[in-house]
């Protein structure tokens, strides 16, 4: 789960990580009032969406996709400029390199005081899967795309790994700061900030904290000018109330939310063959094999290890909401889940939903013979398949062949 910059900065501020004074706004009027309240001559007017690259993004009108403004983050020098920028940002679509072409509707703004920047840095915390520990990465190349920096100047990225038992050690903080070229007051400011940021990461069960840029001001203070914060959804049970309050449902795919409420894992894709599979690995493999035989998967859908008839019906209805779906491949390898139960679930779902597109069902594993018998004895138009490859080939044929 991701949160907005203004929410991330609130977490920073509460933990004592220095940020500039700012206001969260949802209207042009809010933005103008924020400017007055901040009392800063220069302010930044920042689009709040769950995607990076906002500064270099482009705003379009949602009605006719006309270009409204270049740049989703603007520096304003007056009340009037704040008003103009807020008008051009709120209610329009921001397209960045991370949003995809469709972009995201901007509903929130953050108006933030300006500051005198001496240097920009990059700082991130994440879990390093290979080292199995928290990794802190910093670079002197702030404000840049970190993937480009990693590609072109890997030496400019400095890393420390935090020991799970000892926690972040003062020498690690000092060394990381020094590797950024900080000294004196700025190194002191950095060394005070980093343990607090690490505390934010751990106490909120973050999956990522990224600050780009982290800045040194002309008076040697280290300030987080950005806050990209993501939470580990497995830890939701520890943070129910605070995460519910910060969660912005409009940033998430509506069908994905509904699927997850039904205990299903669903991701929409661009193809036309719907997939219903048990197990994440097998669900991915099913998509891959569809493509291998010339089709395009319309979705990833994992019904999990113990799906019941109701979940199977929900899964079908979610797949069928996608108007691109021209056929469905069901691929179940029964373990805990018995094939006879799945077969009955499929028949019930097809009857309830009045399925009109071709359906191929491949069953294997526990009670496979009973499952196949149940499907064969139904009068519904269900095409059986013995293995994944033949199932994929069959559904590709049935929807009219290779793309």
């Amino acid at each position: 789960m991701n949160i907005h910059e203004y929410q991330g900065k609130r977490l920073f501020r509460e933990a004592g990580v220095a940020v500039l004074d700012g206001r969260h706004c949802t209207s042009v009027n809010d933005a103008v009032e924020a400017y007055d309240a901040l009392g800063s001559k220069v302010v930044a007017v920042k689009s709040q969406i769950h995607a990076g690259g906002r500064g270099k993004g482009i705003l379009y009108s949602p009605e006719n996709r006309d270009l409204v403004m270049e740049g989703g983050v603007k520096i304003a020098f007056s009340r009037e400029e704040v008003e103009t920028y807020a008008q051009k940002i709120l209610g329009n679509i921001l397209v960045t390199k991370q949003t995809g072409e469709e972009g995201k509707l901007v509903r929130h703004l953050y108006v933030e005081s300006g500051c005198d920047i001496a240097h920009e840095y990059y700082l991130a915390m994440l879990v390093d899967r290979e080292e199995k520990s928290v990794l802190i990465m910093a670079s002197t190349e702030g404000g840049m795309d970190i993937e480009e920096v990693a590609e072109n100047h890997p030496d400019a990225i400095h890393k420390v790994w935090v020991d799970a038992h000892a926690g972040l050690m003062p020498f690690q903080t000092r060394n990381l700061g020094a590797s950024l070229g900080l000294s004196g007051a700025s190194l002191k400011s950095f060394s005070k900030m980093l343990p607090k940021l690490y505390h934010v990461f751990i106490s909120n069960d973050c999956s990522m904290v990224e600050i780009n840029p982290l800045v040194k001001t002309s008076d040697d203070q280290i300030i987080a000018l950005d806050a990209k914060v993501g939470f580990d959804s497995n830890a939701e049970f520890r943070h129910n109330a605070s995460w519910d309050e910060m969660r912005d449902m409009s940033e998430e795919e509506e069908t994905e939310i509904r699927a997850s409420e039904a205990g299903l894992s669903y991701v929409k894709l661009d193809g036309n063959i719907g997939c219903l599979v048990n197990g994440a690995g097998l669900a991915m493999a099913t998509m891959d094999v569809i493509q291998l035989y010339g089709g395009e998967p319309a979705n990833f859908l994992d019904v999990g290890g113990g799906a019941n008839e109701e979940q199977v019906t929900t899964a079908f209805s979610i797949i069928l909401e996608d108007p691109n779906v021209k056929g469905i491949l069901v691929n179940i390898f029964g373990g805990i889940m018995r094939c006879d139960i799945i077969a009955r679930g499929v028949i019930a779902a097809v009857e309830n939903l009045g399925l009109e597109v071709p359906l191929v069902v491949r069953l294997a594993g526990t009670n496979v013979d009973q499952g196949k018998e149940i499907l064969a004895s139904s009068t519904l138009n269900i095409h059986p398949a013995d293995d994944l490859a033949s199932g994929a080939q069959r559904i590709v044929e049935l929807i009219g062949g290779v793309n």
């Binding site: 879990v127 580990d232 497995n234 048990n278 690995g281 097998l282 669900a283 493999a285 493509q291």
Partner: protein
């Protein structure tokens, strides 16, 4: 021989009185797994009926190991308490026996809990953790065998193929593929799909390489991280037995989590294409479609003079 878990390994179940714990313990016992007891805090002294037998429950893993001299523990404890359960077992095995295998099936454990638990286990070199978020480990025997997990036992047979995989049902698919060419399995290990886990691909490859029963290996990866690439590079230098490899997620879009917490292409890293390329560079026999794992394995066995 087999890997880590012998056919007659003595097993305790953590969370044996819960729904999942009791259901799967019954299935494991039916398969022939030598379940010697379980533990649930506060329920010590009770017994649990596993159909084929009744087993005692202890309050702590320590008591259970002292009483039964268990070789392994399997964890069916819910996510909020699972990392604690792993560490309890690690401490008990280390202190009492100096060794032990912990298999954690639980899905949904917070990543930072696993960072802590994995570090705790690593400090106890005799203790091995498999999982979490995995189907478990199975060593098929002549009559039954040792099944520590949720996989359907009946699809397996004793044989010479070692299987290691990040996935559950896709592992069953690989098992079925070996059976389709008349080959059984030495040990099948599900290492799980979480970003931070215990035993990795390299540990499994190393164990298969030294296990005399294992003559060929099937390795199933998926998108996310670089474990497959590292394992491939390691295998190139260290594994003499033929390996067949598949990676799930060639069609997965970047930045989207595909079911498993760890199955995500982030920052352009962890793609199936990179992993397949690493497999190829290491001389691993590639199956682009899991339905051809059997055929590719047969060819690999023939090329190595094993068929």
């Amino acid at each position: 021989m087999s890997v880590w878990i012998n056919e007659d390994a003595k097993v305790i179940v953590q969370g044996i009185t819960g729904n999942q714990g009791q259901f799967h313990s019954t299935k494991m016992a039916e398969y022939g797994t030598n379940i010697v007891g379980g533990c649930t805090p506060g329920k010590g002294g009770q017994t649990v009926d596993l159909g084929v037998k009744e087993v005692p429950v202890w309050d702590s893993v320590q008591d259970a190991i002292v009483e039964t001299n268990a070789d392994a523990s399997i964890v069916y404890v819910p996510p909020p308490f699972a990392a604690g359960a792993i560490m309890e077992a690690a401490e008990a095995f280390d202190r009492i026996k100096g060794e032990g295998v912990i298999v954690c099936i639980t899905e949904g454990i917070p990543t930072l809990d696993m960072v802590k638990a994995v570090a705790y286990v690593s400090d106890r070199p005799g203790v091995r953790l498999i999982g979490p978020n995995c189907p478990g480990i199975i060593t098929p025997g002549e009559n039954g065998g040792a099944k520590l997990g949720i996989m359907p036992g009946h699809i397996h047979a004793k044989g010479r193929i070692g299987i290691v995989s990040k996935s559950g049902t896709l592992t069953y698919e690989a098992v079925a593929q070996t059976m389709s060419i008349g080959e059984g399995q030495s040990t099948c290990i599900g290492i799980g799909g979480d970003p931070v886990n215990g035993t990795g691909f390299i540990d499994c490859l190393a164990a298969f390489e030294t296990d005399p029963q294992t003559e060929a290996i099937v390795m199933i990866g998926e998108i996310g991280g670089t474990a497959e690439e590292e394992a491939a590079a390691w295998a190139k230098e260290n594994v003499t037995k033929p390996i067949v490899g598949f990676v799930a997620g060639a069609t997965a879009p970047p930045g989207k989590r595909m079911g498993h917490a760890g199955a995500i292409i982030s920052g352009g890293k962890g793609t199936a294409a990179e992993k397949f390329a690493a497999f190829e560079a290491a001389g691993i026999h590639i199956a682009r479609d899991p339905s051809v794992i059997g055929t590719v394995l047969k060819q690999a066995l023939q090329e190595s003079g094993l068929l």
